[in-house]
Symmetry: C2
Subunit: 357 residues, 2 copies
DNA sequence: AAGCGAAATGGTAGCGCTACCAAAATACCC
DNA sequence: GGGTATTTTGGTAGCGCTACCATTTCGCTT
């Protein structure tokens, strides 16, 4: 029909205002409705909501009134599209079945939610390719920032993230080659710390035990710290027991038994984390093996469980919840335009000596 | 200037195509760019991506080619605005420090992520008002559906959700008055189940112990089940120890001690969850109190820890991860237009009898 | 070969909001 | 009091995508 006129070269009809609720519009209350009721322009409503200090108190009040009368809830998607920013932070972790990450996420979530940001959850199962594609897809949400786990990522993903230009935090581990900001703990030092403790307690035949260490390279970094300390102490350190399965109490029990069987002369066991170490303590209890008299056990993390076992577990405690809070604070600082004192935060750790060593 | 012409009553200039990258456009690759390169209309690209079966294989291939050449990543926000649906499911739980919810979330997340949906995390700290405002704000993201915890919500929130018209699942507990869909476990039956077990083991003086039960009404439902069983068995049931603090191993230890002190004649303790029960077992270990000879201990949840303690913990196991998976599947069914066989899924439970009773 | 229905493709017009800039109102100064 | 600096308000034009419908193409029948 009007197909002859080459374009929209025509006057738009009744450009006025009325006939809302057209086409596909759900019957959602929009900023338009609020503006109409308050007798102002939509943009003023937008400002009253987002930057109230830029609107006179008179109008602000009238607008707030209208908002609550109508029960207006901003469409964050529309706002996000217009401003190219959604109030949302994806948090990408390797696994949701590992308590550590959960506790960090908890800290992040609590802090961000208070500030009006939502957390989008992603898990990669320790696969860098999956992480890369997950990152691509979450960037499709135009988030305000991104929180990733670790410093090792798919190369292409790193390139795209660097070009992205929004705040990015890498958590859990500490290093020099981070993309934008870094909050974590020095795994190497942590491993060394526990090893140092075991050595100083007089143990000589010390093994490091872990699971899934081909994927969890942070556990390998701790092992490296452990190894160096033993080397410097002139102790042998060929002993590294490992299994390729997720960490669990069960895995800790098995690892413990395997170690005892194949090397009955061992004096101390340094586990890659408290799940394993707790499993070992529980297996020892069951078998009547005295800890630390017959064999000492050390862990890493500071899981609350370790405190309640008998014997209670010596561990290197890392403030995981606080790590999340710190990461979130750093993120918020950047989002609010403040320049944080440092782009790198060492969350620290603490040797918690208890009964098992 | 042209301010005199009252409206947009004018021919749009060079309506053509070229000059992209205008105004505020970031230099993001858009569906336009892909369309240009593939020599098709943008809408065709959209279709090739969202409903590939509706595009000829020739074009589809060319489009896929262009997508990967340009590294196009769809802007989900724009798509979400246009279609009034973001591929995103908020999951609102009371707390992220309670392992139960975490495991359910894990199941949800894993299942939804596979299907290309992201999980948005929200926590309410057991506060129904906070839940209501959280619901309002997440609805601002135009999510595809919503997953909530429990069947009790702020009245206004329920009204708005019912009017919302998208899939809603309430998890954890089972009941008749749900908003849209319901996946969970019958808490009353669970409490009765453990009580029945304790009674059938010959215990007569049985106490129920919990924490924070004024907020966690599901624990109260279990207690109610417990109470009824004892009543029917002609046993006294005034004993209900409680503390107003979050559940933890620590709280379990304290509750255990308090119970023993004030009622040394008790024969069995029915704890509101495994965190408390495990704490009790560990305290018993520490004090050399024999379980179940001196006192029996039962829990609820089926935490993996319970299996490894000595004595191992008798508990009512609820498949939490599976509950999440089922909820997510139900959600996906509805999102994909399939009609699930039932809007209500009883995830079931299992009495796991171990050494502690 | 004409006719017809189905499948494939494209044009148009927003989704509801905010960036950008212009205009109006107000405050401020000598 | 007139003019300028500042604050407050508003108009316009998209953000990048998809719903809706029109159009074209194709396959198949008779």
């Amino acid at each position: 029909m009007a197909k002859t006129t080459p374009g929209r070269a025509m006057v738009k009809q009744n450009s006025g205002a009325r006939e809302r609720r057209r086409h596909r519009g759900s019957d959602r209350v929009t900023i338009q409705d609020v503006a109409l009721l308050a007798g102002v322009a939509p943009i003023t409503v937008s400002r009253a909501l987002n930057t109230p200090e830029r609107v006179s108190s008179k109008l602000r009040e009238r607008i707030e009134q209208a908002v609550s009368t109508l029960g207006y809830v901003p469409n964050l998607v529309a706002g996000g599209l217009a401003s190219a920013k959604m109030r949302m932070i994806p948090v990408v972790v390797p696994s949701l079945s590992i308590l550590t990450f959960i506790e960090v996420i908890h800290g992040i979530q609590q802090t961000l939610e208070e500030a009006g940001y939502q957390v989008l959850l992603g898990s990669t199962d320790f696969d860098l390719d999956r992480e890369a594609s997950l990152i691509d897809s979450v960037l499709g949400y135009s988030p305000s920032g991104v929180i990733l786990t670790g410093l090792r990522h798919h190369e292409g993903a790193v390139r795209r993230l660097k070009a992205w230009g929004h705040p990015i935090i890498e958590i859990m581990e500490l290093g020099d080659e981070f993309i934008d900001m870094n909050v974590g703990v020095d795994n190497h030092a942590v491993g060394a710390c526990m090893a140092q403790h075991l050595v100083s307690q007089g143990f000589r035949r010390i093994a490091y035990l872990g699971t899934g260490m081909s994927r969890d390279y942070r556990a390998m970094q701790r092992f490296e710290g452990h190894r160096q300390v033993l080397e410097q102490a002139g102790l042998e350190c060929e002993v590294l027991f490992r299994r390729e399965e997720p960490s669990s109490y069960q895995a800790g029990r098995r690892l413990f038994l395997e170690a005892l069987e194949s090397r009955p002369d061992l004096e101390a066991l340094h586990f890659a984390n408290d799940n394993l170490a707790a499993g070992a303590v529980m297996e020892a209890n069951r078998r009547g093996i005295r800890v630390p008299e017959e064999i000492a056990i050390g862990g890493y993390l500071g899981l609350s469980l370790g405190e309640h076992l008998t014997p209670s577990l010596t561990t290197v405690t890392v403030p995981r919840f606080e790590m999340g809070v710190e990461a979130a604070k750093l993120m918020l600082a950047r989002l609010e335009g403040r320049t944080p004192p440092s782009a790198k935060v060492d969350i620290g750790y603490e040797l918690t000596v208890r009964e098992s060593t």
